[in-house]
Amino acid sequence: MSTVIWDDYLEKLIESWRKEGEPSRTVSYLNRLRANALSRIESLRLPTIRDEEWRFTDISSLRNTLFPRASTASLPGLDSQKSTFLDEPTCRLVFVDGQYMPGLSGLTDDGSIIVCSLSELTGICASKTEQYLGQLADFQDDVFVALNTALMHDGICIVIPANVSITVPVHILYITSGKEVAAYPRCLLVAESEAEVTIVEEYVAWQEGVSLTNAVTEIYVGESARVNHIRVQREASQAFHIANNSTFVAKTAHYDSVNLALGARISRFDQKITLAGEGAECQIDGLALIADRQLADTHTFIDHASPHGRSRQLHKCIVDESAHGVFSGEIMVRPHSQQTDARQLNHNLLLSEKARMDTKPQLEIFADDVKCAHGATVGQLDKESLFYLQSRGFAEEVARNLLTYAFGGEIINRVIVASLRQRLEEYILVRTRIS
């Protein structure tokens, strides 16, 4: 091809991926989508801190590495990955460095859930992919979504048929091997009308290393369906993690999400929820627990695009040492979205002098008959609570850790999968050093 790509890093990146050969697709829709995304990348560039939406998140260090695609997805001792499996029966889908691993995956279900890898799309998955993939996560103005769409070499499509309740959680495990490679995993979840499902997306590192994950998940919540989505990011301490979740919530449907940002050197999570149908509801909760020189950036956008919608959001950050937390929470209430009820809270805890937090709640309300509230706080641990604990014999450090743990615990408690919640509690206990 002779076109000039504007951003030379992207040019080199695309070039090197081309050399490795493009994965063949069985579905022509995917090939078209991919080609469109590729041509769109030509006029995009990596964002810089001069871009409003990236003001606080400097990703220029990404340019230091031209992350190649993992050639073979293999891990020494794959069996040892079992420690990251959940205790409950699950529908487990495992990716290693962006490649789907059927051998590690397994469905504990009566067969009512339909799962297809994007490289082998058939039946209903093929038609749902054509209907939704790339429709919810828009790549026109988002270079990372465009890159994921163009370069994804694997992904998964999950369909929950109408009126079906999946009782076991769907656990999607994205493992990074620690090699200096990029993973572009893609996930599409379609819950048809009155379907119910819990989905856990977990990003874990097999070992330390500088890697890049650029993930996109699209979720379609059909009429009166319920989706509970838990997202746990605990990548390696030097990793880049950039992810986009785009969710469409239909009439009287309900979408819950809990998002935990724990790992990575730099992480950016863009979450977009469109309450598209009348009476659609969502509850969006998040916790970033960061230390050292980590940066965790969460951007959420809740679009009240229909009347009688309800949204609840509680986002917390615990920032220790020289870490930097960023939260931007936008809530849009469109002109005809009367009787919208939206509430957003953002509470941030700074544990050291050098810790930094930038928070930007934004309400944009264009309807008049609505209930909207938001609030944000940035602070240290409460002195009176500390004294109360100390007066009961708790050493100051233990008291601090207990209060920190409690602050984060409010979000952890919203993880409805018991073994995962327990594991997260233990993780936070270790991080906050209470025994």
């Binding site: 002195k383 100390q390 007066s391 009961r392 014999g393 207990l402 209060l403 409690a406 615990g409």
Partner: protein, 263 residues
Amino acid sequence: MINANSKILLEVHDLHATVSGAEILKGVDITVRSGEIHAIMGLNGSGKSTFAKVLAGHPSYEVTRGTLLFDGQDLSALAPEERARAGIFLAFQYPVEIPGVANNQFLRLAYNTVQGQRGEEELDPLEFDDFVREKMKLLKMNPDFLDRSVNEGFSGGEKKRNEILQMALLEPRLALLDETDSGLDIDALRIVANGVNQLSNKDNALILVTHYQRLLDYIVPDYVHVMEAGRIIRTSGKELAQALETHGYDWIHTNEQITGALP
């Protein structure tokens, strides 16, 4: 119970303390021996809670003059947790709510910390559960309070009972109950007072801060002190509380004969 030979637990002399630059305590003197029960009364804002917090080591309060000895040891060098482990307990006038920390976890950690300090056996969650339920019976507390966050959403009276539950678990040598009676209904007052009386013995001591004679009908003090503007201006026997209830605080300034009863 007064016994002139029993050991001095708390010795406070000419204690001055400031908070945010304002002097609140202006020369407090009080001596408490083991086995004794003291009551401190006084107008709102006279410095009773300030004294309690200074005793417990609240970091916002600075001792600027005077001595504060517990069991012969200078308290001013000790962090709040060290005072607690040494056997000082403050039942707060306004107990703090701590969302996200389960009451049972909090109680067990506090109990084990103090037990560890005394070289005694710590309890695992199961053992502790049995132990704390027994103590709760003493205070007729519903065990459901164990599973809730510390004081979160507790009613005023429930918070006060939770304070006394902590006292029962930690078995302090010196307990200061700051208006534990306010907010308690009539039945709860009797239950809590009974509990406190059962915990009281010849080796520990109690300071009750209260506005009402009512509590002192149940927990009979050996001494009653009146605090005014950061000092203890009168000390007498239990009849002083009765007299104050009848005549009001102004009466103190016009009546000097009570001072004659000073020990």
